[in-house]
Point group: D3
Chain length 300, copies 6
Amino acid sequence: MSTERVAYVNGEILPESQASVSINDRGFLYGDAVFDTTRTFNGEIFRLEQHLDRFYESLRYMRIDSPVGKAEMKNITLNVLKKNLEILPDGDDYWVSQRVSRGVRGLPGIMKPTIVVECFPLPLEERAEYYRDGIKMIASSIRRTAPESLSPRAKMHNYINLIQAELEIQSQDSKALALLLDVNGNLCEGHGANIFLVKQGVIYTPREQFVLAGISRQVTIELATNLGYEIKETDLDIFDAYTSDEIFVTSTSFCICPVSSINGLQVKSQNIPGDVTLELQSAYSKLVKMDFVKQYLDKL
Amino acid sequence: MSTERVAYVNGEILPESQASVSINDRGFLYGDAVFDTTRTFNGEIFRLEQHLDRFYESLRYMRIDSPVGKAEMKNITLNVLKKNLEILPDGDDYWVSQRVSRGVRGLPGIMKPTIVVECFPLPLEERAEYYRDGIKMIASSIRRTAPESLSPRAKMHNYINLIQAELEIQSQDSKALALLLDVNGNLCEGHGANIFLVKQGVIYTPREQFVLAGISRQVTIELATNLGYEIKETDLDIFDAYTSDEIFVTSTSFCICPVSSINGLQVKSQNIPGDVTLELQSAYSKLVKMDFVKQYLDKL
Amino acid sequence: MSTERVAYVNGEILPESQASVSINDRGFLYGDAVFDTTRTFNGEIFRLEQHLDRFYESLRYMRIDSPVGKAEMKNITLNVLKKNLEILPDGDDYWVSQRVSRGVRGLPGIMKPTIVVECFPLPLEERAEYYRDGIKMIASSIRRTAPESLSPRAKMHNYINLIQAELEIQSQDSKALALLLDVNGNLCEGHGANIFLVKQGVIYTPREQFVLAGISRQVTIELATNLGYEIKETDLDIFDAYTSDEIFVTSTSFCICPVSSINGLQVKSQNIPGDVTLELQSAYSKLVKMDFVKQYLDKL
Amino acid sequence: MSTERVAYVNGEILPESQASVSINDRGFLYGDAVFDTTRTFNGEIFRLEQHLDRFYESLRYMRIDSPVGKAEMKNITLNVLKKNLEILPDGDDYWVSQRVSRGVRGLPGIMKPTIVVECFPLPLEERAEYYRDGIKMIASSIRRTAPESLSPRAKMHNYINLIQAELEIQSQDSKALALLLDVNGNLCEGHGANIFLVKQGVIYTPREQFVLAGISRQVTIELATNLGYEIKETDLDIFDAYTSDEIFVTSTSFCICPVSSINGLQVKSQNIPGDVTLELQSAYSKLVKMDFVKQYLDKL
Amino acid sequence: MSTERVAYVNGEILPESQASVSINDRGFLYGDAVFDTTRTFNGEIFRLEQHLDRFYESLRYMRIDSPVGKAEMKNITLNVLKKNLEILPDGDDYWVSQRVSRGVRGLPGIMKPTIVVECFPLPLEERAEYYRDGIKMIASSIRRTAPESLSPRAKMHNYINLIQAELEIQSQDSKALALLLDVNGNLCEGHGANIFLVKQGVIYTPREQFVLAGISRQVTIELATNLGYEIKETDLDIFDAYTSDEIFVTSTSFCICPVSSINGLQVKSQNIPGDVTLELQSAYSKLVKMDFVKQYLDKL
Amino acid sequence: MSTERVAYVNGEILPESQASVSINDRGFLYGDAVFDTTRTFNGEIFRLEQHLDRFYESLRYMRIDSPVGKAEMKNITLNVLKKNLEILPDGDDYWVSQRVSRGVRGLPGIMKPTIVVECFPLPLEERAEYYRDGIKMIASSIRRTAPESLSPRAKMHNYINLIQAELEIQSQDSKALALLLDVNGNLCEGHGANIFLVKQGVIYTPREQFVLAGISRQVTIELATNLGYEIKETDLDIFDAYTSDEIFVTSTSFCICPVSSINGLQVKSQNIPGDVTLELQSAYSKLVKMDFVKQYLDKL
């Protein structure tokens, strides 16, 4: 049995080392492509339909007309995942992504979108200590791109705004995570992560317009609501962050991960994770039928 | 003799159909890559050193440490061009580009940048009528990404802001060119093209900070200065554009191309190109030792 | 019987061809005037009181002290309408407007506001095809004037901001309607029309602060609420528009009219009008006791 | 001999009391019109050509195609002026204005612009004390409309932004003049007046982009340059105003008028006008061959 | 018995004339200090705990680690108040404030925060006429500092932004109160006072993010809610203010005080205070067990 | 002879330990005060007149009418300095500052400004390594207060905006210096330090409007001009900083100090200080007749 992951590229399933796109692919030349990513829990894919729905919204925003429809994309995804699960080490899990670029320039005829579906192992070990110690989050001097220039709500292959923030912060502390403010100075998001504040029992998160509203953000809102918490989606700023009891981030891979300090200021809560964060993590684990925190901590 | 172009990818020269990057290359995943492009005139490459200087500034902005230095990059470029010139049809010319991405995720060891050098034929035919009739330029509702989010002065593989403007405008008129305003509402740039206004004998172009200051923009400023024109780099807006005598754009491939209307309003000058534009085109042709306008018009 | 419409000007009822204001009227010199407009359905005037309330708010914002009070203004309006109904062709209807300018400069004594009340036939024929094919809506590069400069919520005789947007868009496509974004890049309004999005059964419209909140916008919100729809007044942007199922505009004359495309991108709904738009149109017709859609379509 | 002024309206010369525009004229309905104004000195019109050049630029910005060309407009202007000079009292002078609106709605055929040329006596008496005591200038809380919404550089019949500032300030002090800041908080302009600061012998005035750059502003710059002053057109703010030695405004009618206080803070210069202002006033008087300051002061 | 007030400074209770801070105290050098202020009603301190909670949030925002904890601070406060009540004239009341600066520069060892607790008599006489005639409120041209520069929500010793607005307005009318707009042009706050609008029975006040949300603002919201009013915390602008029925401000000392005019425009309500304001004042008086309006009016 | 420094406070010269201001001084309560600071070189005060000129401009901006005039302030300053020089250790130097607050609240009569003049030893040892290794400069997420809220050009006792940036950066790296961007994202200033970039032999520094234009900034511009360098005062951003050859800061105490990295990215120049910085430092030392770099380095 092969020990190499496989990927789907334009109709073929190939070993990852052979899975490539042309240097003339607009996804490479311009980042002119769209993607979405879900993850597995114990090999089970989570909320694939919801991710695909968002994926086709991103495609629509980009006016890319995918030759592969939603149902077929689902089948391809499940097929690629199945093949890759065979070589997944015990205790690990995958990111599973669909990607569609506008196509290859310079070929005869009408441009044909490039389709890629692939799996990538979660960086469990790299992030394990975040679950024990909390994330040090630092606001970047760079502002999240404004919606009047490019919507942060479509998942596209243009990440340099977020990467620049990351480079700025991680050159100070390689383990810290960058927080971007929006052009009004409000809390926005990190590289692929949504932020939540807990203050006096109420849970706050930035309004959807300036951030990519993650599926895990939505899951967290639902879980919190079910647990009886009041959730407010509203403009938040550094003052809110500094005076919060707890802070956590959510993302497809993180699920829910506690933040220990913001701009070097320890959050109020003595224990990491704080009580509310812990309760939400437990509810999340229950929903995904796996203790995702333990999965991370086991890698320490 | 092969009729296929070749490209350099990470140390190898390959037929373009085999020149590719991994689906895990950050240049593809995030547009996390840098490039620069010059063109040939009659097969002679133009201002390669100046383009390479800018290329290494873009790399520095992106904190990508290219394993290939400037001198070697020049050699590779000349070598790739030489091979491709053998199959260049008479009367045609190339774009010649260097590209460096941050590398491929998930490989063992430290990430190693991906290096690509390639040639691509100029779209002479597609644009020929612009030189006869002038470009219809239309301001997009989308604003150019602000420098506080991402500098427009580094040439990076993140073009969706410009592509969205293009999609918006070209869904109205497939031949029109999009003009982006900056976040202050000033004239900024098109997809890869700088804009110039001529009014009462004075030539104006937007300040460098909000635009990618093209080499051809610089060439044009030098030529105009030598011809005795006053050139002002300053904030310009739609009022300036509407009340100009002539408008033209510059880019590596366009060199200098006249604009006939802005937002559907004909420029004042009766003839296309206007007198100043024509004079600058002639000077440009002389500098590059080739009548670039004729090259375009011959394709009609 | 005369076939000419009449208008009220400063106490007199005159044939429209003799109804004029001085060249020294500040309404002409500076647009220093206020107005409001309602329409008739089958000759019946609609929500006159509500329009007059708004009219006197606009006057207050402008610090114009109308010598004619609300009750008298209502009487004048009904009187002017009555006279004009006599010559209204079957199947047609009127806009009915009150206008008050600050007065005439250069006359002795304290400046006395100029009062005008007039009827104008609805452009049913001109707009009929919008009801069959939907409106092509295109975002202008011009931003709606910010409230810190001039409130968009008072109806005043200063329309050049909207007219410039219209000129920009209609020089591309004379049938298209201009959509203005506000200074934050949010969806705002067209020339006299409010915009609504329908997405997954929820109805959205921009917050009132940046738009002139039309009476028909209010009527639509009431009708939708009564029909059981959830309505959200919130910040919306181009991403929302591109991913909506249906889009429609409302105005005094349009009532509710479907939008077929936004920036050249077809709305998702296959049929024009979409299901929700159609349901609201029917409710609107019922409320005004006339099939206003049929009235438009009959003009085709 | 008649004692009533006359005006030109669409080909006719009429007594002003009969000079009017239709209530359906877009100049009245929307302020959809353009104008320019020069003044006479001792009955001699000043820089008419320069004003007409600017007038046709405003028309172009508004895409109004005047049926009356520049040469004819000049003749009409001189003719209207000549007739009105006959009744001009000794020691007085006129504003002389051209106005073109987009035309009258609802008439058959293509819309035909409305042309008005008129004279209006300068408010010499009303403003006389400004020349003796200086102007009290107060910054309004209202910001000048941003160029991305409407260019302040075209002279149009949309003055409510400026009128609102005036109403705000004059409800505090009916003799004070409103100063508007632009959307960046920089000094901008008053209702029809440009502002200049003098500091340590250097003269400053706001950049042209955010203000209507008056002809008298231009004249002042020329005079100051000839007198050997350094003039800087640059971004200025309240700190600059508070720390200036002298402040003055320029306009067609004001020519040059000293400011005595800004936001209630007396300018540094003990005498009103300050030395530089006085020198410029004298040069202005010499240029226009009349002591315009004396003309104002004689009305006290 | 002494007739001099006393204050607590770093552990000592001193006569106010001897209560001072070093010229090297950062509270003096940089305004690098935090405070909070409550008031007494008939000598009874009001909502001290709530004020202290906010005080410690401000300290946290400023990263000042007070050596005196909340409980001890309460004791000190009550003690200082008790001593000062002995000399409080009948009918008067106090402001009672806690202040903590970051400490004194240049001393050996780690910097030690400076602690001050003091009482100051309310300016009842100075403000009495506001309760009879209403406040004349005028919008300043200065914008409230943006949250991305400094949070308006922490109570700090940096008041120049508000003081500049006050100086600007009061140089026009020494009795007027300055209203600041935020950087978006929305109604924000005065020097230490929150603003409320009443329109058609609904009560509006600006969102908390851009203003220091006073305790009395919170009290007013609670009282209004209990009285059955709908309260909306939302973006408000000058149009809202001009078209309101009643306007009032709240602050620790004002409690609730009516506004009679905004930018010189009389509020709609004929009587001062308006009906809703009066009802809220009565409820406030009941809550604090003292007729605070009478207390002010008695000083006339 | 006493070993304690003395300070001038309101007419008296006192040992520093007794030099204080009332807790009711507005300088303490609100930071409602103005200052300026020069330094000595070998005990010689530098450019005192220029600093005093700026001091009185700051007072004017704040509308504080100092009872002590410029000449007397100079005498007091020289007197205080003279007394303090007696106890200045060899090799050390002083900051010498004038401070004027608006006065003490609550005293009878008109408020009388508080005057302080004091000396403070330069932190030579603390900063010595900056001269050997260069400064690590990091851009804060906090934006410099906008001029429309508070002018950065007056030196006032309101420093929390700068202190917050410093706290944010120094909680990551206690030796790093914070760089603030202005509200447009341009390079602005650090806490009391101006920034300069050197690129291809040209020297750049931000425009004066958004920064406190230091005297040492001015000295540096003069020295550079005399040495034949081109100096540009213009908008600069992070792209400029990342692609510079050398970066340095200037301030009263720093004179000229090299920056080694910006946001963790090493400046291009291999040696610290770079060639241009070194040349300017030498010229500065010559001007002040003391090797200020050696003075710092001797403290290592």
